[in-house]
């Protein structure tokens, strides 16, 4: 089974060191969910994934990547 990875932590720092709280407010979720996402312990719904990408002003696939069982990133 594949795994969904994300670059949220990197993107936050690239965008003026945006705090987890700020991102949570922009994406409409709680700070605990941002923490879980950054630690790879939660895979968001499609809707939340889009909201997070929109908070960074970048396309969805630049935030989230799907890594299949063979290790290929899509």
């Amino acid at each position: 089974m594949g795994k969904v990875k994300n670059r949220i932590r990197r993107l936050r720092f690239d965008q003026d060191e945006m705090t987890q709280d700020e991102l949570a407010n922009k994406a409409g979720c709680t700070r605990q969910t941002i923490i879980a996402l950054e630690q790879g312990k939660y895979v968001p719904s499609i809707e939340l994934a889009f909201r997070i990408a929109r908070a960074f002003n970048i396309p969805l696939e630049e935030v989230f990547q799907y890594e299949d069982s063979q290790g290929g990133v899509k």
């Binding site: 709680t30 969910t33 879980a36 630690q39 312990k41 939660y42 809707e47 939340l48």
Partner: protein
């Protein structure tokens, strides 16, 4: 700690205190025999369980309506918690049915036992509901 996680923790403490209060009042007021004869005793017990149930439900429903405090991850954990409740209720029912059918075989079951059975199921359900949420957070933080 997530806001819903905090509420579940408070819910667990409240449920345990609620059970202790019910058991204490029941014993101090005279137990099963007095319960059948004393209407004021029954009213006190009724007000404790109805009041406790309202407080318990209010603890969760007030926070579930606040979208800034509860998001999809919290709701996922909350929606999974009835699994723990269901298991706990089934085990409590099995224990009661075996106990009552063995204790009163061939006789009628006194009304007070139906009341106690209902209260046990209610309290087991509320304790297991809070534990289900806390375990849900623990598992999500551990395994993802």
């Amino acid at each position: 700690m997530a806001p819903l996680q905090k509420r579940a923790f408070y819910g667990l403490i409240f449920s345990i205190a609620w059970v202790i209060a019910m058991v204490a009042v029941f014993i101090l007021k005279g137990g099963a025999n007095a319960f059948d004869e004393d209407q004021s005793f029954r009213l006190i017990m009724d007000s404790i369980w109805v009041g406790g149930l309202i407080v318990y439900l209010a603890l969760f429903y007030t926070i579930l309506r606040k979208s800034k405090l509860v998001d999809e991850r919290d709701k996922l954990i909350y929606d999974r918690s009835p699994r723990a409740q269901w298991l706990a209720v089934i085990f409590a029912l099995v224990a009661w049915i075996i106990g009552l059918s063995e204790g009163f075989r061939g006789q009628g079951v006194p009304t007070v036992y139906l009341y106690l059975m209902f209260f046990t199921i209610l309290s087991v359900s509320s304790i297991a509901g809070s534990i289900g949420i806390l375990v849900g957070y623990w598992r999500m933080n551990r395994n993802g």
